[in-house]
């Protein structure tokens, strides 16, 4: 645990407070990753900034074309949101498979992204939703496609003290699926996960985005497979061909959770199943 925890009550207060704090500082969001790391002695920052009290991060709002999900909204609140159910079908499908109910009462999407893990369920789902991530540093804002936030395992494009304030998703009608293979059906870290969003019309895929977890150094947006799927019939044949393609796009490793070859194979299986689970798929 750090020596001090500071809790600003607004973004303005946060930026004002920063200069007086120890240089080795970290943001504390839901704490489910950070406190675990501290308990295990893997995080030695001497100061945490508890951003749980920042009202700016705790909101979800809709404009005409987009849905904004604040980085500090608890996953259980996101799961209960009718706007998320309507406009983020992949995220909505992923959340029941994200950790456990009590951890979802604590964890946030901001923390899930900032942690930079390739297995982050919330992030993979949002990458498939083609989400943007909103960042702020001392009042200066910028927006990135979410997939571009990740540089490698646990490495992100976040600058020192830069804060994830939220995520935006465009309100376009689409179908989605999230299939995760772990050691058990619920509450496990994935060996491989496939997130799929698709805009469909008359049995055809207009646009699809495939994202994968735990099979590359980053939450992977499978650009080639996604592009290939556009314009294809939503059929068993398409699903099988896409499965073959996606296996060439991933670069899994063998680690404590699974083996590289198995993971690669499962990416194909999961994508095929995800495609065939979409409404109107010819089985």
């Amino acid at each position: 645990m750090p020596e001090i925890i500071v809790k600003p009550s607004s973004l303005k207060e946060l930026w004002k407070t920063l200069p007086g704090l120890p240089a080795d500082r970290k943001y504390l969001a839901g704490g489910t990753d950070l406190v675990t790391a501290a308990n295990a002695g893997a995080d030695n920052a001497s100061c945490w900034l508890d951003i749980g009290g920042l009202p700016e991060l705790g909101v979800m709002k809709e404009t005409a074309g987009t849905l904004f999900i604040g980085s500090g909204v608890k996953l259980s609140a996101i799961q209960a949101s009718s706007a998320v159910r309507k406009w983020c079908p992949v995220l909505y499908a992923a959340l029941p498979h994200f950790a456990s109910p009590s951890l979802r009462n604590m964890a946030t999407l901001g923390g899930n992204a900032a942690n930079g893990s390739p297995c982050a369920d919330g992030v993979c789902a949002l990458v498939a939703e083609d989400a943007n991530v909103c960042l702020e540093l001392k009042g200066k804002k910028r927006t990135l496609p979410l997939a571009e936030l990740f540089l490698g395992p646990k490495r992100t494009a976040l600058k020192k003290d830069e804060l994830i304030t939220g995520f935006t998703v465009s309100k376009r009608k689409r179908a989605g699926a999230y299939l995760k293979l772990g050691p058990r059906s619920y509450f496990g870290i994935s060996k491989a996960a496939v997130a799929l969003s698709a805009e469909l019309s008359a049995g055809k895929i207009i646009k699809a985005v495939v994202a994968l977890g735990s099979v590359a150094p980053v939450p992977l947006r499978a650009a080639k497979t996604s592009a290939w799927l556009a314009g294809k019939e939503l059929s068993a044949q398409t699903a099988r061909a896409a499965a073959g393609l996606v296996k060439k796009e991933v670069s899994p490793i063998t680690d404590a959770r699974s083996e590289a070859g198995y993971r690669r194979e499962m990416c194909g299986v999961l994508l095929e199943r995800a495609l065939l689970s979409l409404p109107g798929a010819a089985k």
């Binding site: 001090i4 809790k7 704490g31 308990n39 508890d50 456990s100 951890l103 009462n105």
Partner: protein, 172 residues
Amino acid sequence: MLIPVSEEKNRYGLLALSCTVNGRRTEREIPSNRSLLEFIREDLGLKGTKEGCGEGECGACLVLVDGKAVNSCLMTASQLQGRKLVTIEGLKGRDGGLHPLQKTFMAEGAVQCGFCTPGLIIASEALLRRKPKATLEDIKLELTGNLCRCTGYEKILSAVEKARGKLHKCRK
């Protein structure tokens, strides 16, 4: 609100924590880096909440914060500021005796070593508050974050099912 940072004694920031614990207003001055679990067990002396894995995997440390089940091993006590904490000691039946879930856990033999029991009862209470008519499937999903290495879960599920219906009647 900024937690006052004190340079006295140990460089630890001291936090004047104000919260509600099992219905009672509680104020303590604690190091701001105290974990919620330490606060509950060491500062408040409420030993019903257990530390199992210390990494959010087992659910033995579950408590209710503002009515929601959370893993107290992964929260800082500072995150409790201004909020309502209920531990297993705070659950009571209408008559002030055992809570219906405690009774059905006993009656169904859902307790063996008992280490996971407080967490399981807290998780079940959170579910039945939210969803008084929870199905068996709801119960199974809600308890995915709670490990029991003795009972094999069947008796636990049966205990929660038996408490369902009795529970919302006794709540104020």
